[in-house]
Amino acid sequence: MNKDIIIKVCTGTGGVATGGKEVLSSFKNALSSAAMEAAFYEKCSIHKVGCRGFCAKDVLVDIIINGEKTTYKYIKPDMVERIVNEHIMMGNPVKEWIVGDEFYNFHGKQTKVVLSNCGVIDPEDINAYIAVGGYEATRKVFTSMSPEETIGVIKNSGLRGRGGAGFPTGLKWEICRRKQSEQKYIICNADEGDPGAFMDRSVIEGNPHSVIEGMIIGAYAIGADKGYVYIRAEYPLAVDRLKKVLDQAKQHGFIGNNILGTEFNFDVKIKLGAGAFVCGEETALIASIEGKRGMPRARPPFPVESGLWGGPTVINNVETLANVPYIITRGAAWFSSFGTEKSKGTKVFALTGKVKNTGLIEVPLGITLREIIYDIGGGIEGDRTFKAVQTGGPSGGCIPAKFLDLEVDYESLAQVGSIMGSGGMVALDETDCMVNTAKFFLEFTQAESCGKCTPCRVGTKRMLEILDRITSGKGREGDIELLEELGQDVKTSSLCGLGMTAPNPVLSTIRYFRDEYEAHIKDKKCPAAVCKDLIIYSILKELCTGCGVCKRECPAGAITGRRKKIHKIAPELCVKCGTCFDVCKFKAISKA
């Protein structure tokens, strides 16, 4: 009996949070007992892998026996023994734990380039990356391509910046290449600050070497010998993996002096962000690396002309860089065969919110929103009605259900008042209030505004005040028009991208959901029953069984009632936390 048994356990942030490490060690323990070791030691290998996208079903475990793969979902440490006993020893998979159709539907419409090895290889092992073709692209450019040829390939591929703005990557490199300077820099922007987005974190956690390889190739192309990865400190696992793989790349001679026997030197340092959203803006990011307050400055000069410490600097997003090695090895034509006329390739999205299958997805540009929400996402949880999808985070907008058949690319999303952004996609359903959603984003941008330019500093504050009064039932006639006017002004007169896009969530929700704003202002009602000041909790007499659960759980002591008798909520004590609504098994709490 000659078996090859491979066990892969997800240890991305989602996997670790749901117990991935414990599952991993349970497998190690189960397989290290004496009898098991004798039978399986030679043939069995256990790997930790990065994010495989389908975080909703974590911990995901693959068991591959002789090339035949079985994927399990929701695995807990105490389930490991049975998998080992029945599946690994006896060859009978534990049927009831295997992923269902949703797993295959989730992956069916995806095209994986950047994520092709995420969740497949051990992210902390350079040999695993090399085994799947890693660092071949580096060898190729260093041995057979000039920097200009390298730039040419990236230009022809049509790759555009995946951080949001969509600037052609090849062109950016070319401008920097032409600039004469002693010292140039390449920076990987991993300051993924958009709430609701985790593409870059997952790529770094799942295949960090691909990002480093992209940086090496970029550095060679533009002629930079120093690189920085600017990464959020909120991503401890990603930071840890980056540090490990940088050391490995150094040991293998891909980073350091005289790379692959050439004259070329390149060194990479990691800089931790300190928690400021605006630092994702390139000039602010540079200021932050230099150790200053991360405030943007006026452009031009652009960083490609004068960036870090005055040197020409290319700043590329994580996903952009992770695409580079694949484009170099497989060619520009291969890459541009995916996508639409102006937006080539694939894009990674973080699909979250009210869809059934939340997780990380990679799709060819040009796919429709319907395919993403319904085919990949499996539709809306609890079969409620889909209302809108929020793309682009606080810089983007809400796209309503009527545009479900829109093809997703940089231009089409801009046309409907949103942006591609870095790839956050949050699905909203009928229980989400659009005014509250707009307020949520504005609270964020207002708090994150660096305060340098007046339109953004004061404008976002005033807009938030108006939204605050609308959602608390004090909205006035004319508030909507005022928001629109103010929003336009902030957009046109702010210094950097943060201010220029901050009004988008407000403007797009007014554009498509004006009736909800009007309901808040005129009728003092929140149609989705979300805005606290506009809803009242009460107990429905006909459904209350007097079980007393709500009374026990109410943190404010606002519920009274004798056992088996109808209970009552005292409105003056109620803090509207919604606990009673959640705990009542009889749906006897009404919220209106």
């Binding site: 709430p195 609701g196 300190a274």
Partner: protein, 153 residues
């Protein structure tokens, strides 16, 4: 304290550091930025205190006051928001009796903080309890975890 500060200073000199890295080291060591430490660095490096505070107050990572023994961070990302993270925070503040303008209990046992997004949106809503990420949080689960924290487990 002096010894620790000297070590941070040496690190700073050896690794072409900057004010941010000093503050990050202080935060890591003390859990906040002590005023005496800032004054010490200001003197040693001949950099005005205002430069340190300009940066410390700019970035969310730095805290000017001591934090609680247990730090509970509630993610306020979009996905967590639509899945009810606001209610989790409100419940925590009520439960721990923390006034709205503060985030730490008077006995310095608990700090409740918000973070913009930890990027674990697939398992929203997310709460981080003493650096451990806990996903798909419900009021029920949260209260059980709090009980355990209080019991010192």
């Amino acid at each position: 304290m002096e010894e620790v500060l000297e070590r941070i200073l040496t690190d700073y000199r050896n690794n072409e550091g900057n004010i941010i890295t000093i503050l990050q080291d202080l935060e890591e060591t003390f859990g906040y930025i002590p005023e005496e430490a800032v004054n010490w660095f200001s003197k040693r490096l001949d950099i005005p205190v205002s430069r340190f505070y300009g940066i410390a107050t700019f970035y969310a990572q730095f805290h000017l006051r001591p934090r609680g023994e247990n730090v509970i961070t509630v993610c306020r990302g979009t996905a967590c928001h639509v899945k009810g993270s606001e209610r989790l925070i409100n419940r925590l503040l009520i439960e721990l009796d923390i006034p709205l303008d503060k985030n730490t209990t008077d006995d310095l046992k608990f700090t409740v903080e918000k973070v913009n997004c930890v990027g674990a949106c697939g398992i929203a809503p997310v709460i981080i309890m003493n650096k451990k990420v806990r996903g798909k949080m419900t009021l029920d689960k949260l209260m059980r975890d709090m009980k355990r924290l209080r019991a010192g487990e």
